[in-house]
Symmetry: D2
């Protein structure tokens, strides 16, 4: 966590000798002070991943020029997928909720204290349960009812709102609806869900009841990117908590809330800080 | 977690042969259906501890009569310290906060969803930071400023409020003031604090900075009863989270919040459900 | 953990008012000093479970008489499934291994120091890898080769050995063979396996490779009773360990060993101390 | 974990612009293929730390030349503390034990399976408890009795043995003696201890009894470098395990063993792989 403004380069490219040398030489030539750097080579696929934080005012020019030079001198020669973000530009996160409070309260507490230094242009819900609570925080609350018959229209409307408010990331904070494949595809890599099981165990509905039925001794939560296949997208973060034979499914629901909100917050933070690089159906997370 | 109304007996007495037999025979004679029961013998001090949940409508008489009979027939012969509480009578919890949001948001989320099925007669603070937030929830917010010069008066006022609102339990939800010995003694066993370290390490001020200085690899939080000796009261619950060399004290503060609020909520729940029996400076916690 | 000799009663019966009263009255009448006691009511099936440790020399008569009286006066009237074991009679544990060392070394270390106060009448293996190591400890080592063609004969031989050495419990300490349904049925509830995944995820072969493929952020181990359905028996104990994107399957294998041996040792201990009561395909574990 | 031979550079130097660029350019110029790399800037002290693994046969020359060129072209200009080790040269680890078996069995299991790919030139003990066990593994066992009167001579002898067998690292695997300041100083940064508490809590003797006395809810273990101040050296790794009121100090001792051996093994592994850089009384651990 750095107080000064910084740029974050995250990139991947085919592995070869000299990648770090080329990237770091480019940064050093222009005076760039590296605050934090992480690298990973995937031996199986031969792909190389990196994330570098550079102190903004150490560079000799502004970000636009940095980007165009980096592209020409480094990214294109190395066939990189890359992006550079600016810590001074707050990410815009649209939150979707239904009737459960724990993830919403948790996110707004982090937002209120600037622990999560983001903008929340709106909260969208299929119910009006949290209208007052959200609006009290000065955040617009938009209800988009979802019924059996209006699903296509409802998800088109949610996508419209997301685009109109210029959302960067959509967070499903225990939003109890299954998004349309169209929406999943349109925002691939930008929708984050929290599932209340330790995936791949107990995907789908009522995972705590499934866990109770099987008699497991730990229950979990999984933060993942949403894809059109239910609960099968790339996993960002997971955690578990111990239970025992005396815990009914209702107790598991209660225990589970504590890991759901924590795992979601950690996963979201990694994503917002460009610490997550997706590789096939898996993630590299540079914590 | 039981849906039906129940009574909770929690008790301790000198150990001897036949304690469970006497207590359970008394309950069975009067038709009492035991939902949950826990027992513990302390080998060192020779004291015996128990906690029993009894289905309210299984008993042949009401609680007042149950209490008077239990006292005469069981508790006095066994020289017991005991109490019987009624799940239909909500506990009244007074929350004290300063300027940190995480424990307050967390407690109000649990209260709002009835996960914590308590009454909060008021929130007291030395600052007005959360006045609007608390009042939006329909909970009175009372500011009691604390300065170098008014401490005695301030704590007397807090005690007055606690008594006037008929508080059962006082929760210091990251209340950054040290209570007076008088208040600690007056409400012994009824004030719960969350300390942001794994006690007994790093008692007192700025524990995360102390932890950073020492180079530990895990940081913790401790929920404990407040006594007049700072951060030295009986421990109810603790937990830890992993950190590493890259984490500055500010990062630890951020990580720590997640265990502070969870540990406080767990400890408070144990206390409110009469799962905690204090024994000298230690606790028996019947989870 | 008690130093004095004690008897352990473990039992289950249909739930009704007065079970604890009847059992504890019987024990108290005969002078029995209860060292530890645990109870659990399964609300769904209406079955009641208990485990009670009684100081042996506090009883007025010996175990044989205690058993026959308990049967007539308590167990039969309550339609109990029950057993009473004697801490002075060491359990006899037959260990099966293949070529992996970690669980075997771990168990023998615990046996050597009497942390596990058991007899190991023999170690059985399909390989001779650990013959010298086991025999150095003064424990007979019996090699029973298993090939595609001799499976039926091999498992019959293992069962014959187990019965001849009067085994109480069979432990599959990373024994890389699938037992025959006949053997599983013959020793139902007496064979304990350690599976190297957090079941129900990744049952079957190469679970760490499956975990790597899916990109999970924690890997686990599961100690369970063996049934004829592979990796699907009642779970006794589980635990997990954190991994990240930099860990290859080989690293997971290495990390996993540490939880496998610990989870197996914990599960085995619970079983040997009669802390595990099987209920359908689930377990009650009175830790 | 890499199968191919590699060199590991670990280094620290005053922070400045261009360190990664200089180091990585040097490596790339000579064909070096980087398998793994980690960097850390300490903001407070302005010191920079790194660890880089380079595939051995990717370099154009042998290690001696690599070292001398690196020194002249990189290390001296940057005022580095540095070392380069060769994965083909096994580290030599001298193990000291007393009468407790768990860490010794655990280390020898890892050594036997080559999970720890080290040489153990000898095991030294003040008792003869494990003479047969160690020698069965083909490892020399040297008893050096320690009495009140011979301490100086005993520790001088242990140092003599360590030097004669060309030890790289000395591991105190629950060696229940306090080394002399002379020995600690002579082998500074090369002696690793496992202490059976979560330091800084409960340093010194009988930490589990101290923990029981205080009533903590988790107990821990700490792997650290030995310095002449007891249990106060730089911490390499720590972990904890949950206990409760029913656990006597003897139970804690038993639970504690499982984390002691695991934490020691992890800490030792980090040290042997040059993942630990000492900075004042703290460590950077590049896991």
């Amino acid at each position: 966590m750095h107080r000064d403004r910084f740029y974050t380069l995250s990139a991947s490219c085919p592995d070869q000798v000299g990648i770090i040398a080329k990237v770091s030489a480019f940064i050093a030539q222009h005076g760039g002070w590296i605050l934090e750097s992480s690298f990973h080579a995937d031996d199986v696929t031969g792909r190389y991943f990196m994330r570098i934080e550079i102190k903004a005012d150490s560079l000799l020019f502004l970000l636009a020029e940095f980007r165009s030079r980096f592209k020409a001198e480094v990214a294109e020669p190395l066939s990189m997928d890359w992006q550079i973000s600016d810590s001074a530009v707050k990410k815009r996160v649209v939150v979707l909720v239904s009737k459960q409070e724990h993830c919403l309260y948790d996110l707004l507490a982090r937002w209120q204290s600037k622990e999560l230094d983001i903008e929340i242009p709106c909260v969208i819900s299929n119910h009006d349960t949290f209208k007052g609570f959200v609006e009290w925080h000065g955040i617009p609350f938009i209800q988009v009812p979802v019924t059996k018959d209006n699903k296509a229209a409802a998800y088109a409307e949610i996508q419209r709102i997301f685009e109109d408010v210029r959302g960067d990331t959509m967070v499903l904070a225990r939003y109890m609806q299954i998004l349309s494949p169209e929406l999943c595809d349109a925002l691939a890599g930008r929708i984050i869900n929290i599932h209340h099981s330790f995936l791949p165990s107990f995907a789908g509905a009522k995972p705590y009841h499934q866990a109770h039925e099987r008699g497991v001794k730990l229950i979990g939560a999984t933060c993942h990117y949403v894809t059109s296949e239910l609960d099968a997208g790339p996993i960002i973060e997971q955690d578990v908590i111990r239970i025992d034979h005396s815990d009914a499914p209702e107790d598991m629901v209660r225990y589970g809330k504590d890991i759901e909100k924590t795992v979601l917050a950690r996963g979201l933070r990694y994503h917002l800080e460009d610490r997550v690089l997706v590789h096939g159906n898996k993630t590299i997370v540079f914590r």
